[in-house]
Subunit: 468 residues, 4 copies
């Protein structure tokens, strides 16, 4: 059974023909793109012509939109957003719901109300899906909307509609998991380099190293955007928990025979489509990859991340400034001595200053002195600190929140794990291993989501409890 | 880039593990499937556990459902249907809409109302999509619902929800056109034989003949149901308009070199999934295939169907009984003579009786006498008769309505075109060619949908006007 | 990386163009196919033109050949066969070998002699390989040659050349193993039905049953004949050694869960291309499939055939007539009684007569009486009888010889295992299980090929020793 | 129909098992690799064991060989080469040929002689083909042999045997043409970068530029070496004949819409496997690509190369030194003046000196003065100069000889076409367009191969005739 040859292109040509015809039919050509777009929007939403015409108009609209400058685009989006549900129809439908004499009538009236509430712009958005690259067009449209909506709240409902549509279409049930390796197409690998958001890929050699025989890379794809990565994860197969990302990325490190590995380290996970923000697949990706690896390598016993703690330093700075009892007297004294001063006050100040210089990690003596304090405070930050009043039970660190929500356990802290500029600045070189134990994922997830209980190793729990 | 090996199965295994775990957790095993299903439904809709648990429950629910007997199934469906929107929340949301002080507040309130109106059962239905075969499960579920809803109207809203979901997922933008030929898998071809609804395929030899080098067969598939046909069309490449389906299906007819053909005849189009009733792709399929064939065979100038007229005889019988002036005096006399009697009255009766015997088509003299009358009345039936009071402008014949809606033109009538039992009984052996002219499809569609104007050849229009 | 689109067809067109050009160039068109073929052969072997021309001529030759009637074909083949090595060049090269003064000169002279011995027709045959379907053309050509050479020995060297070429091209290193199942293309399955040589496939239902979930079918393919089966084997996954082929092929037998099977039975192996006679892959196919199944099903412990004994009855008839002491006195008496007579002589005659009637297998009493004798004689036939004077150490039964050469062991006899007409006539309903034990295959093979030692179960060895 | 899963690996495992078993069986383990290899060679050629054992031994031999140091390898190769045809058997077979009483006997005797002449080492070489990567092993083995044979002529016959085998297996009939583009796997593209032999690829950006939408790249592959390029050609789609390779490779040059191109320029063609030296596919590759492009782009009217003239400067230097009348008096004078001196003698000397400096091409005045002389001499070099005594009718320039043999025509000279160091040093910046006109390829080929006639444009022919 063969896929119909070049069908996409033919359909495309058909659309072009119809677009052409349509423009002829509309008579006097609109004087500019905005006018043409407006008239297309109107025709589209008036439901003139068959479905083929409707999609031809969508194609033309996409073409016009892509050629517009930002201000024109904003106007166009507002115009699109204005095709809202008819208030009179909504009111009438609400009246009918209230007036419904019995259950059946009420059910029918509610169905009618739902239809009345569906804004006409939703139907138009749907018509883009059948265009070649139409799905990518919609994802990119939402990326623009997410920016524009900040300045123009009237775009909010349009953005929400689009998000709801994308959430339905990008349900994990529709996603395809594919392995990416050095045999993957260069065009795809080039995108992967662009999308890597955690540890920048600096060269094709760096990339090749990350796709070597002791590495794995998996991504989700959508059938309607087959050439676009949605999210991908990079995995290293190692012995024992990895504690340094620079070591993992070292081009000169020897290859490990994957059959000798006992641990899979998820050291980078990147979302690729800004237009899908808020539609989550990271959770599923990790679990699918755990499953795939567990089946390929019987010898792998433990699945863990090596994750940044992006909010640690920012939080720590504030605490160093605000919280006199942050350090125990012993800590304060020890630090004060090691870093130069004498009193507890000076201990905090000295730590703040030393951290601010961002060179301490190269001095083994400073590291030795700071390690116990930094580890204790990182444990507290991850396991005890909350994300403000509302989320009283939610981990303050966003990465911690992501993995805890997924059912992971905070396993081990690693000082000097990321000595890149970013690693020193944001996390004081500290990284953390989150452990994914397939047998406990669900329980941990429920405990965290339900009661705000954070799973952690005994050592970290003890550490977090603090000095008092 | 390789697709992750056997990932589906692994995920499946993971689900099984979780299903098992879940059952253990729930403690005392439910005494029967209905109870277990009810408790799963409740857990599911209460949103307990993470998404993976949720889908594991969906898997278990599907398993239970598939093992149920019809009465149990009905009870289960009613239980599922009962997870409706919360009336209090709907009322509150309606109040908020009415009370909204400004546009922004009203927009937010409407969004809230839409959420309140979304029945919880919709979320559960969505969870089936990520199961292996989950999409087929939902399609089949709707097939059952369409039957059950007749006896149990309370299932209506559930059926409507499912239809709306399926309509979104089976948007033509997601469908894949594939050619089917003698190299297609036997498992797929076996399904095609089962699904053929117009001209039964009687043997593998018959099937092979329909997939020969002067034939084409195309179908739509959905990425989440890759082994299931959605709709397919069978095409013969011929010289001139085909006027006999028995000739087209004749196993002993010589092959035509497709390069010598000037006409593509769409002689059979079958929907395959009862659960997708009311979600239309036929329109798009024909147009896509016209496009594909037009590009492969430059010499093909005309695209037409050879279609049955399924309602002709039923309509004619009633008219012969009810409408004294149905035949012109000349027709009545001629028929009366040829078929045996003398007066106009006898002409109608004779025709009715002759048709009822269903052997007339084997007698060339009878055929010659009846041909002008049958052709005139078929033209009238197709071009003038309306589908009752409401659809005053809609063709009475359902097949005619389908093709006219698609923008086709009624081109030619063919007596003796289908001499099978069904062809004689329903259509008096008459079939009709609907012509798809890519340049006019949209205009015809608009004229028919807008004004009820039916496109037809000059000859047929004249014929339809009748004797008076 | 995409395969160049439709390259084959383009090349084909190019060839057509060149063939056309060539015909124009040759001026006066030959008056008939034979003349044209002769002139093409001459041009071809004279090496006129480049390689593209050469292949164009080969294409034209193939076309002419395929349109010829048998007598013309024979003439053409003789003409092709006549392009032999140049005797003078061979003589000169032989002289040079004899005259060579030293090793280096002798090596060079021998290389020259090999070139001189290579008949020009070999080069022409090679040119067919690059035509679309050229490899299949050559295979079919040899099939014809194998027939023709019986009547015309002068075709012998041509046939031998072609066999040597095909043996090189169809080296098992080039073959591809593919599984065939119910998802395989109907065109391929249709060929499988045609090629099945052991147990005829009587319907698509029969075929489907042989491809069900408790069955496996594997075939070898060649990259230059991708749509053609070379050899295939049908396997049933069962519990314990299967002892009846009718049971295996029973359409109403229940499915076995393959995970519950402990034995794989190879019940049919068919060569598909007569033109590859004498080029053996059966050996490799069985071993590859043993390996594939062993890896897919960990629970399968034993691999065996259920094989016919095609020469048993023919051999037995002769022995019954010739060998007075064939039966022991006890056997003779018992048989004589059971089958009707009294003396040993009568025992043999009665057995011969009963077998000749071919209905005995339906009478349980007859079967009970004959079983011990038939089993003992079958064991002797398989394990002791030799294939004539030359092959003193070779099993007389060809199927036994095939499996013993492959390293199999004769494991068990099964009376009533094949009650089809052919099974009764050739094997007296007896079939035999040959066991393939991966750990012993090589040892058995060496023992049989080297010393003529036949591996067998203890029970069968004892049985074969006979009565005296 | 699915390819049997992971069959290669299973077979591989089977081989390993057998290799292991074999080593056990041979008892006392050989003390070193050379001894083990020798004993394997002996066992192999003695034909011990079945085919599976034979291939297992081949696998072990390959393993041992790959681990050997150069001196050991040489010894191993000599040992392999020593398995020559049996001299006594050859003598006896030659006697039989001479003594043959009739044609049939002679034919049989010659067949026997051919078998006797086939060295046993050939059979061993063949056994490598079925190993995973076995074909690549043999190709690499020949690469080594081509080097070793220079120092050790006794390896000649082995090298010749291997070449003959490879020539049969790499017949163009078995090759697969694939397009390579930016979607091709990175692993393959990396090899392409390594293999590019004409215009070095300096970065992934350079590579991407060569695979852009106005470029094409095609390669031949072999089914038994699917990840290895055999030969590839890079093509630019342009308007008019391209005259500068630096322009073609300019990363900043604008993209041309391929639909607007009228010419395809083959600007780089590289052989990738040294082990296939002397087995030619370049000819076929160009013609296949001409055909593919001609079919994809109807607007492309002309197919040409932009080729180096690698031997031009070396030839010109000698002529400038040896041939007093190389320049016409006018040329000599003009050059003398422009480049500095006065007499004809000085003209030649001045030209020689100027060329030797390799900077002249940056001075427009020097270029203007030298252009007519360099063009005339290049035309003479390409169209008149012969490759020494033996090849009196063969173009002296190897690239010219390649394209003329293929049926191309020398169309246009381009000064300043390659201003790279290599281009200035070897070709005095001159490149030449060879034109491939599908309608004339065969005629040109025949004229050149048969009569040594070189096809060229009228302008170049006139130019080549020279001044006298």
């Amino acid at each position: 059974m063969a896929t119909a040859p070049a069908a996409e292109n033919l359909f495309d040509r058909a659309l072009k023909r119809i677009v052409g015809a349509f423009r002829d039919v509309t008579g006097a050509a609109p004087t500019n793109a905005a006018d043409e777009a407006a008239s297309l929007l109107a025709a589209c939403l008036a439901g003139r012509g068959g479905e083929v015409s409707a999609r031809a108009r969508a194609a033309r609209l996409a073409q016009l939109y892509l050629a517009m400058e930002p201000p024109e685009r904003r106007a166009f989006l507002l115009s699109l957003a204005s095709y809202d549900a008819d208030p009179a129809a909504v009111d009438a439908a609400m009246d009918a719901v209230r007036a419904a004499p019995d259950d059946a009538a009420r059910a029918a009236a509610k169905a009618q109300l739902r239809r009345a509430l569906e804004p006409p712009r939703v139907k138009l958005l749907t018509q883009f899906t059948s265009l070649p690259d139409g799905m990518k067009f919609l994802v990119d449209l939402r990326e623009v909307l997410l920016v524009e909506v900040r300045a123009e709240p009237r775009l909010g409902p349009l953005e929400a509609d689009l998000k709801a549509l994308l959430a339905a279409w990008f349900d994990v049930g529709f996603l395809e998991l594919r392995r990416i390796d050095w045999n993957s197409g260069a065009a795809l690998l080039e995108k992967l380099v662009d999308y890597e958001a955690v540890h920048t890929i600096v060269s094709w050699r760096d990339l090749k190293n990350r796709l070597d025989s002791d590495r794995r890379c998996y991504a989700f794809f959508h059938p309607r955007m087959p050439d676009e990565l949605l999210i991908f994860v990079e995995v290293a197969l190692v012995k024992g928990l990895a504690g340094s990302v620079q070591q993992l990325l070292d081009l000169t490190a020897p290859l490990l025979d994957p059959a000798a590995a006992d641990t899979a380290i998820f050291y980078s996970i990147s979302n690729c489509q800004r237009g899908l923000d808020g539609i989550s697949f990271g959770n599923f990706l990790i679990k699918r990859v755990v499953d795939v690896l567990g089946s390929e390598f019987r010898n792998i016993k433990q699945f863990a991340t090596l994750s940044p703690i992006p909010g640690f330093c920012r939080w720590l700075e504030r605490r160093l400034a605000d919280e006199p009892a942050l350090l125990s007297p012993d800590e304060a004294e020890a630090l004060g001595t090691a870093l130069a001063g004498e009193t507890p006050q000076e201990g905090r100040a000295a730590l703040a200053e030393t951290l601010a210089q961002r060179t301490w990690h190269r001095d083994p003596e400073l590291v030795a002195a700071m390690r116990p304090v930094l580890e204790r405070l990182a444990a507290r930050y991850l396991l005890i600190e909350n994300a403000g009043a509302r989320g009283a039970k939610r981990a303050r660190d966003p990465v911690a929140h992501f993995h805890l929500s997924n059912g992971a356990k905070v396993e081990r802290l690693n000082l000097l794990a990321d000595t890149s500029d970013k690693g020193v600045r944001d996390g004081a070189t500290m990284m953390v291993n989150y452990l994914y134990d397939p047998a406990r994922i669900e329980q941990h997830h429920e405990d965290y989501v339900g009661e705000g209980k954070r799973a952690a190793s005994t050592a970290l729990k003890r550490l977090a409890r603090g000095w008092s």
